[in-house]
């Protein structure tokens, strides 16, 4: 079998920076990403299709992304796009598929940088074609230059909602309205984190300027509940008793770490992060997980944003170089000193943002609303199963098949988890998360048969 010193999963800022740093420490590096082009979520299409004008919202970030991509390309790391990772074994044998063919390699070290996914925001009618994530619309803008037309609404909360709204307006798009579902009193909780956030005021000021720009052009309406209406496709919305026509509805409720791979690893410890209301793998300051040889960097280890992701990728690669005998512990500490300080400063606004946009509570979700889209399981059926004795998401999967469909709980996992906790009246952190299993992405038998 092929051997490689370092395998990096994910070519977002974390993975790109990890690969570049590891190469400069003399390690051979294999970098896999299922997307054809590198960049991850934030730098999608950068250097290819996404070339924002210098004053467009997000343009400075795109320049940082281009630098990361170019550095990784120049580093000599082997970058493989269209490569879907599906398993990792105890001896660090990694399996992935490319164009219908399966591959394996044994790695000396693995740095997992799988990023984040949007937290689902279940509302009645959200399975109708025409209802999508805000992140999805942003991907269409960055990778294909698509701008919504017709009556476009956004609903939910979080920084990405305001960023995308500003990006869309800058591209000449229009919005019929934004339904702001953020809890009214959240700023009272957030305010105590403000002094810390002001140590790094840039992102907050930028966020405020996006909000101002958007509010000048778009009606922003506060509402607690939204319903998508239509038959076969989205035709309208209902919120607070009012009805409006709609062609496209974009939902957002923040992002959560993508722990699909780490949760499938037997014995890889995770903790509940109350501030971010999600599970994350237990990591030391270098990114070492609780299993030997397995490291995590970037949003997959806890949401920190693009810059913190790149810094943690770099830090993890420096530690990998030590573990593989390229650096002594002293050399490692010296090399990681500055990136560690910078990461601390990049993380300064996080507690404020987390407190400002706490995820929307599950008590709002009506019994008739679908929560597991693959298996079409409603909140009411989850609540009924809990009252029959289902203790947590893993039992619910057996009761109702929730989490057993093709998405393997990527979308419904956090929702069902929160729903079970709220129906049982216990803290979400006291429930075991949904166990995931390899292969973490579906593969065909024909693909498996190509393994030598």
């Amino acid at each position: 079998m092929r051997e490689v010193a370092l395998l990096v999963l994910g070519a977002g800022p974390a993975g790109l920076a990890a690969a570049t740093e590891a190469r400069s420490q003399g390690l051979d590096v294999l970098l896999l990403d299922e997307n054809a082009a590198p960049g991850g979520q934030v730098h999608r299409g950068v250097g290819e299709f996404y070339r924002p004008s210098a004053d467009a919202p997000g343009a400075a970030q795109a320049r940082e992304g281009l630098a990361l991509i170019e550095a990784a390309r120049a580093s000599g790391a082997e970058m493989r796009g269209g490569a879907t990772f599906w398993a990792i074994e105890d001896d660090l044998t990694v399996s992935w598929s490319e164009g219908g063919t399966a591959h394996q390699a044994r790695a000396g070290r693995v740095i997992l940088c799988p990023g984040a996914v949007e937290r689902a925001l279940p509302i009645p009618g959200w399975t109708l074609p025409g209802v999508m994530g805000v992140g999805a619309a942003q991907i269409l803008l960055k990778t294909a230059g698509l701008v919504p037309e017709g009556r476009t609404w956004m609903a939910g909360q979080g920084p990405l909602l305001w960023l995308y709204a500003a990006q869309l307006l800058a591209k000449g798009g229009t919005l019929a309205g934004i339904i702001d579902m953020s809890p009214a009193g959240a700023w009272r909780q957030a305010i105590r984190h403000l002094p810390m956030a002001l140590m790094k005021p840039g992102p907050l000021l930028q966020g405020l300027s996006w909000m101002r720009r958007v509010r000048a052009d778009v009606p922003v309406i506060r509402a607690r509940d939204v319903e998508a209406l239509g038959d076969g496709k989205l035709r309208g919305l209902r919120f607070d008793g009012r009805e409006e026509a709609a062609d496209l509805l974009l939902l957002h409720d923040g992002v959560v770490p993508n722990t699909q791979v780490t949760r499938a690893l037997q014995g890889c410890a995770h903790v509940w992060d109350a501030a971010q209301a999600s599970f994350r793998p237990v990591l030391d300051e270098w990114g070492n997980a609780s299993l030997p040889g397995v490291m995590v960097a970037g949003d997959g280890g806890g949401i920190g944003g693009a810059r913190a992701a790149a810094l943690s990728g770099r830090i993890a690669a420096i530690e990998a170089a030590r573990a593989l005998g390229r650096l002594t512990a002293e050399q490692r500490d010296a090399a990681a000193g500055r990136p560690m300080l910078r990461r601390r400063s990049e993380m300064a606004p996080r507690a404020f943002l987390d407190a400002l946009f706490p995820p929307l509570g599950m008590d709002r979700v009506a019994d008739g609303t679908v929560v597991c889209r693959c298996e079409e399981v409603t909140a009411g059926r989850v609540r009924a199963a809990v009252s029959l004795g289902a203790q947590g998401p893993n039992q619910l999967k057996a009761f109702l098949r929730a989490g057993m469909g093709p998405c393997q709980g990527r979308v419904c996992g956090p929702v069902v988890h929160a729903l079970v906790a709220s129906s049982r009246g216990i803290a979400a952190g006291d429930l075991m998360p949904l166990r995931t299993r390899f292969p973490v992405k579906p593969i065909t038998v024909a693909e498996l048969a190509t393994l030598k």
């Binding site: 025409g130 294909a144 037309e149 076969g232 889209r373």
Partner: protein, 94 residues
């Protein structure tokens, strides 16, 4: 529903009908740009679905590509002449 801000450069086929696309963009983007929202029918109730996340997580954009079912349209890059079809839902009876 969506408007292109950049030109198309090739054609692909959806259910046998030709639509304009740009090489390298995702199949899902090409379909949405052509006004197609309905990608598949669900296996459980047969109800229509289109993409939710476009980042490989939700599996709601599953279509048939060159005769192969269950392909995530958001992860399939457009190549000239690509042929794709709506994915019918029904799962084998249980």
């Amino acid at each position: 529903m969506f408007r292109r801000t950049a030109p198309t450069d090739c054609a692909i086929s959806w259910n046998g009908v030709e639509i304009a696309a740009r090489e390298g963009e995702s199949l899902a983007a090409a379909l949405l740009a052509a006004g197609i929202l309905h990608f598949r029918d669900t296996a459980v109730s047969g109800s229509p679905r289109g993409p939710l996340c476009l980042m490989g997580a939700c599996f709601d954009c599953l279509v048939e590509v060159e005769g192969e079912p269950n392909r995530q349209a958001c992860l399939v890059p457009v190549t000239p002449g690509l042929s794709a079809r709506i994915q019918a839902g029904a799962r084998a009876p249980r």
